[in-house]
Amino acid sequence: MKLKFAGLLVGAFVFLFPFYYMLIGSLQAEPDPSVGGAFPAPGNLTLHNYGEINKAIHLGRSLINSGIFTGGVILGTLVFGVLAGYALARLQFRGRGLVFNLMLLIQVVPFQLLTIPLYVLIVRSYGLADSYLGMILPFMINSTAVFVFRQYFLQLPAELFDAARIDGASELSILWRVAVPLVRPALLTGVLLTFIGPWNEFLWPFLITKQQDLQPLAVSLSNYLTTVSARAANPFGAVLAGACVLAAPAVTLFIIFQRRFISTNISSGVKG
């Protein structure tokens, strides 16, 4: 048992150290790559780097863009995903089997194959480059979320639905008044899992936003990393400050709600 504990402790150090170093590095006025630099000297700590990165990429604007992108994806996934998940779990209609199989099939289509055609369609044909809609569109409904929502609705007792139908309630009001309140905690898990995707997504918004004031933080930070950083006085300090701002929301949400990221939810989502 002692050996396992020691092994886990070493592992935790390896996993957490880069985050500690990110925070320390973002607060150091002078970058210090030596071993001593890993221990903060109080005199060397400043918020100057945060000011630098803010001047370079307008943190506020980028954060708002990240928020709109993430919010749009979550909203789409919740509204359309809950509707589809409910229908697939609780309603008998023509084509249900087909839609369900389609959903399973879609999960094995890798997104990388779609990158080029989606770029051509969304940017060239629909003219949605540099727009929030173009950013959100490919992620608007998450098939994994539809599947997870369906599993949640399936777990509810059938009598509940029969009773509501006999009372003459419409399906939409059964969904809204009966089904959704009963699975609300599970929906929160769905929202949290969905949040990580667009908040951290890089390739797609990078492809379709060229205008700086529309870029989510991950994209503007990477542009800073690849282009401007060579010229700044303390490029790593500024990059690390930006990294802290980008990492903070996801990490904070995760720590607050860590009990909701239980393994069964995630594996049921992945198994498809």
């Binding site: 590095g25 589809a84 209609f93 890798p110 990158t115 951290n200 990477s222 720590i255 995630i266």
Partner: protein, 298 residues
Amino acid sequence: MRRGPLTRVLGEHPVGTAFVTPYVVFLAAVFAYPLGFAVYMSFHDYFFAAPGAIVDRPFVGFDNYVTVLTDPAIRRAFGNVLIFLVINVPLTVVLSLGLANALNAAIRWRTFFRVSYYVPYVTASVAVVGVWLFLFNSNGLVNSVLGPLAPDPSWLVNSRLAMPTVAIYVTWKQLGFFILLYLAALQNVSKDLYEAASMDGAGRWKSFLNVTVPGVRPATTLVVLVATVTGANLFTEPYLLTGGGGPDGASASPVLIMYQRGIEQGHPDVGSAIGVLLVIGVLLLALIERKFVGREED
């Protein structure tokens, strides 16, 4: 319940069709149509033109595929992803199973450990890439600790070490997710089997090999598959960690090349052909892996 003719045609709850319509439209517009379009582009001389312009885009057969397969830089990118997978996949399986097994024991600070291992997974790659650049720089912390043992040229600018460093980075970043998968799988391994093994005098290591490893085999199949697909998707890490796949293409990934050829250099047809070949490659790899890893399943 009475079933009228209308019910037989539309089902008992025709309103369900309305509920799934947005989802089906989405699947058609964002998956099915682009999928077909990708294959179409890969067989045509497709190039960017002004919107609305009528241009001739002739069928060219396998020309784009020939271009892809005869280009040494693209071939190298496919080779690079193999190097990546050879390092990343076994390392992921061994480390995540080992750590999940340790975490599964009744141990102090369990929540703390689970949170620590999962934090890199929930954090944007763009954010942690910044720290890794700082750590693995030629005069970064890792090399200061290693002193004379530090590689020259340094990790990310060394043509032999660039891809392995990227592979280690991704293993570290994704490990928490795979630990969770194994933690779930470990709940399903029967306690009786461990008791039986200890009755037979099996030590901890033996019962791990003979009970745990076969017990989580379905999860291993899944971990190997997901790690392979994630590896084939590699873009952000070589793009940012190694300045666009350097040195000299040593860490370029197929998706990176797909972006450069398809969008930067304006050859979406070639880019689509890379995508199609990549997907075929992933499917083949998945079949091979299933044969080896999943052989005792069902």
